[in-house]
């Protein structure tokens, strides 16, 4: 397997989470693990940012910041503004979110760096 051309390049992004019905439904589905990966472990990126990271649709992207890191699959969102990315609310972006006293948790403004990787998308660790 060959690595993407720009493998290793890290791109700063701001993640904004949103509610996704399938991430909610997956919690009650017998096939939770597969649904979780399909609907929750994704990041929706602009075309320009996908190019900058060097990934195509479905490729794996590692999102990291000082709080943690996750590996998810890239999806194209043609209306996503450059420099931003969207992720369904779930335990996955919560690995990257933080909280400062007197403020709300930063679910809708998570600063990360994104890079193409070949690592596996992790399975949910808990029910």
């Amino acid at each position: 397997m060959t690595m993407p051309a720009s493998q290793g390049q890290k791109l700063p992004l701001v993640i904004v989470t949103y509610r996704e019905i399938y991430a909610w439904i997956a919690r009650l589905d017998k096939n939770e693990e597969a649904m979780f990966e399909k609907y929750s472990a994704v990041v929706r990126l602009s075309e320009a940012d996908m190019k900058a990271i060097g990934v195509n649709r479905g490729a794996k992207v590692k999102l990291s910041n000082e709080v943690g890191s996750v590996v998810v699959r890239a999806q194209l969102d043609s209306k996503c503004p450059k420099g931003f990315a969207f992720m369904p609310m779930s335990r996955i972006p919560n690995q990257l979110t933080s909280y400062q006293p007197g403020k709300l948790p930063n679910f809708k403004w998570i600063e990360v760096s994104a890079e193409a990787v070949l690592e596996d998308v992790p399975k949910p660790a808990v029910p």
Binding site: D29, K79, P101
Partner: protein, 411 residues
């Protein structure tokens, strides 16, 4: 034996009351009228692999032993904390608040990092509101930072645009404008007549631009377009979502000021797009009991403040025993926050296994309220709805559990 029933869906705060069921030997065979979220919630209610069993330190026990141990943990604790209750009935919420008062402890729910402040502004009269049936008399419906197609899937068809009865003489066009303020291209924005797409965290700028436009000052193009829309409307309903809450970082003052200004042009009402089906019920119950919608301490009479928010309590490890009812903070909060809960005795009352119940000191499996247990809930607009459980309970309900714990607590 086959039978039919009508029930109220508790998958979200729409509390749809027209859900038809076909039952066979206490099993739901067919669900009618429910959305994808509601039907999965109803079908999934009896998915035993996901349901909680009564556990004490991971060992399966009877309900009595789990309740005894929960009461013992709470009695032993010097500073317990009660959290959750947004997925419980008003009756169970009342029991939870009573327990907190008895324990002289802090009680909070997800609304402290969700829309509790917005509900509080409505309850205090700072923001005008209306009922969902009244929305059918509006001529401008604005979803602000909300995508009901995913959060409240029947919202548009049951309460807003597709339920609107007022057509033009030609009969093809409704006399109502549907608009959205959104950062994403969402399913909701794709069916709107007007969409104001803004960058994340730009809601405050848009509100400021609207204020300038209303005052006749030079403003942005979007500001002008929103003002034009508001100017034409006789009755505007704004459905405020989490996008607005988080963009304003829970500071609704500019929004309140904007609504106040708009009210001079016509009627304006705000309805919060509450997520959990009875979060507004918790806010109203606590407001009635203690004068505050959330973040309450009964340690020294009644007090409320940010220091009693669940997030601050966790950050400061201000409690030595946590009781969680029908909530999953381990899954819904930043991991950096929830990891601070490690090592603190935890009592979880929940129909389903969750990240929070995993590894808890005590787990008490409860009935699914609305499906197996009766009660009352408060819809997003403040209307009370009686829940009609179609199935016999397989476990005790939240209210019964809380009252039994309360009887055994030695304080």
């Amino acid at each position: 034996m086959a039978s039919t029933a009508t029930t109220v869906c508790t998958a979200c705060s729409c509390l749809c009351d027209d859900i038809g069921l076909q039952l066979e030997d206490d099993i739901i065979r067919r669900v009618e009228n429910a959305c994808r979220k509601g039907s999965s919630s109803l079908y999934g209610a009896r998915f035993e692999q996901r349901r909680s069993r009564h556990l004490v330190e991971g060992r399966e026990v009877g309900a009595d032993e789990a309740i005894d141990r929960a009461a013992a943990e709470l009695s032993r604790a010097r500073r317990p904390l009660i959290f959750g209750l947004d997925n419980s009935s008003l009756e169970a919420q009342g029991a939870g608040i009573e327990l907190a008062r008895r324990l002289r402890c802090v009680i909070d729910d997800t609304s402290s990092f969700c829309q509790g402040n917005l509900v509080g502004q409505i309850l205090s009269g700072a923001l005008p509101s209306c009922t969902l049936p009244e929305v059918k008399t509006s001529d401008l419906i604005l979803y602000w930072g909300a995508n009901p197609h995913h959060s409240h899937p029947r919202h548009l068809s049951k309460f807003t645009i597709y339920a609107h009865p007022d057509y033009t003489e030609l009969g093809a066009v409704r006399r109502v404008t549907l608009a959205a303020v959104e950062v994403r291209e969402s399913e909701t924005s794709s069916v709107c007549h007007r969409v104001f797409r803004i960058l994340p965290r730009a809601d405050r700028d848009l509100i400021s631009a609207i204020g300038k436009g209303m005052a006749g000052q030079e403003t942005s193009a979007d500001g002008k377009r929103v003002v034009d829309l508001f100017r034409k409307a006789k009755f505007t309903v704004i459905f405020a979502g989490l996008g607005l809450t988080y963009s304003l970082d829970n500071d609704y003052l500019p929004f309140i000021e904007m609504v106040k200004q708009l009210s001079s042009w016509g009627r304006v009402a705000v309805i919060p797009m509450v997520g959990h089906y009875n979060m507004r019920g918790f806010n109203q119950s606590l407001h009635k009991a203690a004068g505050h919608v959330n973040k309450v301490s009964f340690a020294d009479g009644v007090s409320s403040g940010d220091q009693f928010s669940f997030l601050e309590q966790v950050r400061n490890r201000s409690f030595d025993c946590l009781m969680v009812i029908g909530s999953d903070p381990f899954a819904s909060l930043p991991k950096s926050v929830s990891s601070a809960l490690e090592g603190i005795p935890r009592i979880v009352i929940d129909p389903y296994q969750s990240a929070t119940s995993e590894g808890s000191t005590v787990v008490i499996g409860s009935a699914v309220t609305g499906v197996e247990a009766a009660g009352t809930a408060v819809r997003m607009d403040g209307a009370e709805v009686k829940l009609l459980p179609p199935l016999a309970p397989s476990r005790p309900g939240d209210e019964e559990i809380l009252r039994r714990v309360m009887e055994k607590v030695s304080r």
